[in-house]
């Protein structure tokens, strides 16, 4: 087991997807918490230490980008990776600089994206890093 105590917060409205991601990320050595919505995550005390948010883009109520905006407005700059089952064309403008992974998600890409987001290696200026499905 890799010596990672990094924590990942999964926010996705689909129960099965949450369970699958939680198990995969636990297998990859992260400590995982899952939430069925943005507001549910906001109810939690702000995480400290090394952590990353994995956020579904389209959710009923509060969308992924909206959650990001709420967090940023509150001065919370948790690293964040978006995931989506849809194309990214319509939401291009809302996505900002974050990495976007298309479902179904490749484990290695996800782990890499999370670690890159935490360590700040993801390009935060210029063109947004996009990891496309192949």
């Amino acid at each position: 087991m890799p010596a990672r105590a990094r924590r990942v917060f999964v926010i996705d409205d689909d129960h099965s997807v949450r369970r699958g991601l939680a198990r995969l990320l636990a297998a990859a050595g992260y400590r995982v918490e899952t939430f069925e919505s943005g507001p549910a995550f906001l109810e939690r005390s702000p995480p400290r230490g090394e952590h990353c948010l994995v956020v579904d883009v389209r959710m009923p109520g509060m969308s992924g980008p909206e959650l990001r905006d709420v967090l940023r407005a509150a001065g919370r700059d948790s690293p964040l990776v978006f995931i989506t089952a849809h194309g990214t064309d319509e939401i291009e403008e809302d996505l900002g600089m974050e990495t976007v992974l298309l479902k179904p998600i490749e484990a290695d890409l996800l782990v890499h994206a999370i670690d890159a987001a935490i360590t700040g290696l993801a390009p935060r200026s210029g063109k947004r890093q996009r990891v496309a499905r192949h």
């Binding site: 997807v17 939680a22 198990r23 990859a28 069925e36 109810e43």
Partner: protein, 441 residues
């Protein structure tokens, strides 16, 4: 205890019965909930309990054997000052959870210290009912109902919360176990209800292209279980590849994976059922009124987009044999495509729908004044996943073709000589001889 002393006698008496009814409904929903929507069902249950108890929050935090934590939260409208980043503090209970029985906290002072510490701002937490979720003797979660003000919780409220905790524990247990308590019959009833819901949804289509929507939702409904399947498969590999393989988690992953395969299969089954020939209702349909009905549904869309639609239908057309909803889908899809074609450019925004009869067939043609279709695309335009629209799924025309062919008809597309394109479909007409013979050969 003076609980409910300020309530009228009638209210006090009806409350236990009301709560009992509420819990019965929640219980049956939890039992019927398919694997993938258990989360939504839990959310709904929390909302109802929270409302019924006039609480400010209701939440469940659970932890699976591997330590992953799951949160479900309902908060009264206006309760969540998200911009400030509030916290209910309840997740802290899982850290060193020593809750082995229900804790009724009437004031802040009675709340467990870690909860109070993590609640932010603390003013949001004045009283609470905290109930552990017992699962096979192992505490693995907590159900909390909280209020901003101090409150002496009625015994009925405490009991209802405990009952919901039992149901949730059982529901989560069912998810984790291989066997399902749901009887086959209940499952079938659920599947049938789902199919009906989908059909109704389509039947009540308004203004938008439902086929496009159906295809998009189909893609989404399949993508979710596929994502869950794929992540579980990858997780299982990783757990197996450890020096000490974690077989319990591999087993759990395989179990979930199977559930999601079934979910994906159900999605396809529902779709198949919707379009299956013998499942569809075949009635004698007048094509003219059918087109008029679709035009009515699309009227606002046409007006908004500045499209002029002309209907040219003979009044003495023979009827056709078919499924009204499906054929309306086809006409609607062709019209929405035509709207898209004429609003794309600077040309005239004119769409003509023509209905005529020839050689024992009723023919419907939709003519647009758009840019037409590239010659190379004409042959492929009815293939699944073929699209020239930026956000298209390429399913609309493919579904149109399968519907028309299931009705024994044909559909085709060509360019008009002047400008734009024509989509034509023909369906076998019911001749007067057939009609008098009762429609049976």
């Amino acid at each position: 205890m003076g609980v409910g002393a300020n309530k009228s006698r009638a209210q006090r008496e009806s409350e236990p019965a009301r709560l009992a009814g509420l819990l019965r409904r929640i219980s049956s929903e939890l039992i019927r909930a398919p694997h993938h929507s258990l989360g939504n069902t839990i959310d709904g249950a929390l909302a109802r309990l929270g409302e019924a108890l006039a609480a400010d929050r209701a939440l469940v935090v659970t932890r699976d054997p591997y330590g992953s934590v799951e949160h479900h939260v309902w908060a009264r409208r206006g309760m969540n000052g998200h911009a400030r980043g509030t916290s209910n503090g309840v997740d802290s209970l899982l850290g060193g959870l020593e809750l082995d029985h229900t804790l009724v906290c009437r004031t802040r002072k009675q709340l467990p210290a870690p909860v109070l510490q993590d609640a932010n701002p603390p003013a949001q937490l004045g009283s609470a009912i905290l109930v552990p979720l017992h699962n096979g003797g192992k505490t693995e979660g907590v159900l909390a109902v909280t209020a901003r003000a101090p409150r002496s919780w009625a015994p009925t409220a405490v009991k209802a919360t405990e009952q919901l905790a039992d149901m949730l524990a059982a529901g989560l247990d069912r998810m984790a176990s291989q066997s399902s308590l749901v009887k086959e019959q209940e499952k079938r009833l659920f599947a049938e209800a789902e199919t009906r819901r989908l059909r109704d949804q389509i039947a009540h289509a308004g203004r938008v292209s439902m086929l496009g929507e159906l295809a998009a939702s189909l893609a989404h409904e399949l993508n979710q279980p596929l994502t869950a399947i794929y992540t579980n498969a990858q997780a299982a590999h990783r757990f197996l590849d450890r020096k000490k393989p974690v077989l319990g988690e591999v087993r759990a992953a395989l179990h979930d994976l199977g559930q999601d395969c079934r979910r994906a299969g159900d999605v396809l089954g529902r779709l198949r059922q919707m379009f299956r020939r013998h499942e569809t209702e075949r009635v004698s349909l007048a094509v003219g009124p059918l087109i008029e009905h679709v035009l009515k549904l699309l009227h606002e869309d046409a007006v908004t987009r500045g499209v002029e639609v002309l209907l040219d239908a003979r009044g003495d057309l023979s009827p056709v044999n078919g499924d009204r909803v499906q054929l309306e889908q086809v006409v609607m899809n062709l019209l929405v495509n035509a709207f898209d074609a004429v609003t794309g450019g600077a040309g005239p925004r004119e769409v003509i729908v023509r209905a005529s009869e020839r050689n024992g067939s009723v023919e419907v043609a939709v003519l647009d004044t758009g840019r037409g279709i590239a010659r190379a695309d004409l042959e492929r335009i009815f293939e699944p996943f073929f699209t020239r629209k930026p956000n298209g799924m390429g399913m609309g025309l493919a579904i149109c073709r399968s519907i028309v062919e299931a009705h024994g008809g044909r559909i085709g597309a060509r360019n008009r000589s002047e400008r734009g394109s024509i989509f034509e479909l023909s369906l076998p007409a019911i001749t007067s001889a057939q009609e008098s013979a009762g429609g049976t050969p």
